[in-house]
């Protein structure tokens, strides 16, 4: 990310030689991923939310809100998703004012790419209320509170968790005498429905080419040293949903395949971990509900 300024040649050499022999500054191996810390349901006024932290660096907060919208004439029996990512200046002074605009667009595009089209895995028909007229629009708003490298991965981890946490309000559709459709939104949160097929939503793993090798889950310094980057989006059935190179370098075909393979394997592990965490979270809440205890939302920082 050029917006983070420069890295000295000495530092670059240090990182490159480290990668050559399989050592990284924070003691990880090349394929090691910082275990993501994910918390669900932090923002009370959202329909779903999650926060993901990678190591001490990257920290993103994602909220999902359902909003009524006009159906898209091209796909009138489906709802849609709208993604916006904002880098807070709390992460870096460079994000002040309009400084983050380019990066915001780039990150929003990256998340949108994974979540729109058939690869998102979501059942968008569930979001349709009156075909051709009204549908739910899932507004996915992300804030990058701290930028410590590998933000695209963190954004997708948090987004997937937030989607799992999302409850779509129930609607009751009635037909009026003149054939027009009317509907009411059920205000009871207890009746809201979870999204279908959230486990099909893919995750992204980014491999950074540094020197002649690659690393997964790069830190900020490593990202600055990377000549090329490969974002690989994989879903839980092991299918590659999207892949894109970015950065100004070239990748040898053998290394490309190795990077794809490593990213795919890592994505599988991340997906398993996250599915397990979501399941635990849900059973916990269900158990509390069954006992009649209040379900308290965790606080964001305190």
């Amino acid at each position: 990310m050029a917006s983070f300024g420069l890295v000295s040649q000495v530092e670059r050499d240090f990182v490159e030689r480290g990668v050559d022999v399989g050592i990284r500054a924070d003691g990880r191996a090349r394929d090691d991923y910082r275990p993501p810390r994910v918390e669900l349901g932090l923002v009370s006024q959202s329909d779903g939310s999650a926060r993901c932290q990678l190591g001490d660096g990257t920290d993103v907060l994602v909220s999902v809100r359902c909003e009524l919208g006009q159906a898209d004439p091209a796909a009138d029996d489906r709802g849609r998703l709208a993604v916006s990512v904002e880098c807070s200046p709390s992460a870096s002074q460079r994000f002040e004012g309009r400084g983050a605009d380019d990066l915001n667009t780039e990150l929003s595009e990256a998340v949108t790419r994974a979540l729109t089209g058939p690869q998102s895995g979501l059942n968008l028909r569930q979001l349709c209320i009156v075909p051709g007229m009204h549908c739910w629009v899932l507004n996915i708003d992300a804030i990058v509170l701290n930028y410590g490298g590998n933000v695209v991965d963190a954004l997708l981890i948090a987004t997937r968790a937030a989607l799992a946490d999302t409850r779509v309000p129930r609607t009751v559709v009635q037909e009026m005498e003149d054939g027009a459709m009317d509907f009411e939104v059920d205000d009871d949160v207890e009746n809201a429905q979870p999204l279908e097929h959230v486990h099909n939503v893919p995750l992204c793993v980014t491999a950074n080419k540094i020197g002649a090798g690659y690393v997964l889950d790069a830190t900020l310094t490593e990202e600055l040293c990377a000549s090329a980057r490969l974002h690989v989006t994989v879903n839980s059935s092991g299918q590659v949903c999207a892949a894109q190179k970015s950065g100004d370098g070239a990748i040898e075909p053998s290394l490309l395949m190795a990077m794809l393979q490593a990213a795919k394997e890592q994505a599988r592990r991340l997906l398993e971990q996250q599915d397990e965490q979501i399941r635990r979270h849900e059973t916990e809440i269900a158990a509390k509900r069954a006992r009649g205890e209040p379900v308290k939302r965790p606080s964001i920082f305190v």
Partner: protein
């Protein structure tokens, strides 16, 4: 046909608004649609507080490690993160002041922070005004003359707004400045006050704040000297009640000060413990 469609649209958007308002205080079950009763005959408010009661206030110092100073405040459902960088070199040459530091405040509101989702541009005039209010508050409190030709950045991120985002921002900024080790003459503690049926209320929530007939007062004081550094009020109120409101709000500021001060002391104690144990 067209008229029907628009009617449906109107109903839908109204319902959405209603849903949004509802979701703000899920705890409050009895909620009259027609007119909100801000103070019931027993003297309790919509969220069950008494007139002179603050919402639960909790705070945390340095939640973000990388910044020079940061603080997070939760006041009821209002949540604000403040981050301070500096004193550091000024970004733009025009901002250099040869005898003191320049305080730069950026006030950001998360699109999901309020009841209705709204994406605000960074140049939104209302946000700029709030940022200016915070800047002017701290201009007189931070000892800027100690750091000439430099800049202190205060970034405020409102994550959730259930009334009183400005007071929470000022309180969070105070903590973040303390955390960053920026010299100040005193804490700045802010609190809101209002007035319903000639009864002064402390610390307004979103429903009370947005109600048309409640005056809405934000006051920030230096608790030791009792000096007022910020005073903002909208709507109208009789001068007798104004004094009552102001006194209540200033009393609230002192309560806020106690919470902020104890959290600073706790966090410094923790830091000291860590250093001695090492």
């Amino acid at each position: 046909m067209t008229t029907v469609t628009t009617a449906v649209g109107g109903v839908a958007s109204f319902l959405l608004f209603f849903r949004a308002v509802c979701s703000l205080f899920i705890g409050a079950t009895s909620f009259a649609m027609s007119r909100v009763e801000l103070l019931n005959p027993e003297g309790l408010r919509v969220d069950g507080r008494r007139a002179n009661e603050l919402r639960k206030l909790s705070c945390k110092l340095s939640p973000l490690q990388h910044a020079d100073g940061s603080a997070y405040i939760e006041q009821g459902n209002t949540k604000v993160l403040a981050v301070v960088y500096g004193p550091r070199e000024t970004r733009h040459r025009a901002q250099v002041m040869h005898d003191r530091a320049y305080i730069n405040v950026e006030y950001l509101v998360a699109p999901f922070s309020a009841g209705e989702r709204k994406k605000r541009s960074k140049n939104d005039k209302r946000l700029l005004e709030l940022a200016l209010a915070v800047k002017q508050t701290f201009d007189s409190v931070v000892m800027t003359t100690l750091h000439p030709r430099s800049q202190i950045d205060i970034y405020l991120q409102v994550l959730q707004d259930d009334g009183g985002a400005l007071q929470a921002s000022i309180n969070a900024a105070t903590l973040a400045l303390v955390d960053a080790g920026v010299p100040m003459v005193d804490y700045v503690c802010a609190c809101t006050g209002g007035c319903v049926d000639s009864q002064a209320l402390l610390d307004l929530n979103h429903i009370e704040e947005s109600s048309a007939e409640t005056p809405d007062l934000t006051v920030a004081i230096l608790p030791r000297s009792g000096k007022v550094t910020l005073l903002q009020m909208t709507s109208r109120v009789h001068s007798d009640q104004f004094e009552q409101m102001l006194n209540l709000a200033m009393e609230g500021c002192r309560q806020v000060h106690a919470v902020l001060d104890s959290s600073v002391r706790d966090s410094m104690q923790q830091l000291a413990d860590q250093m001695t144990h090492r």
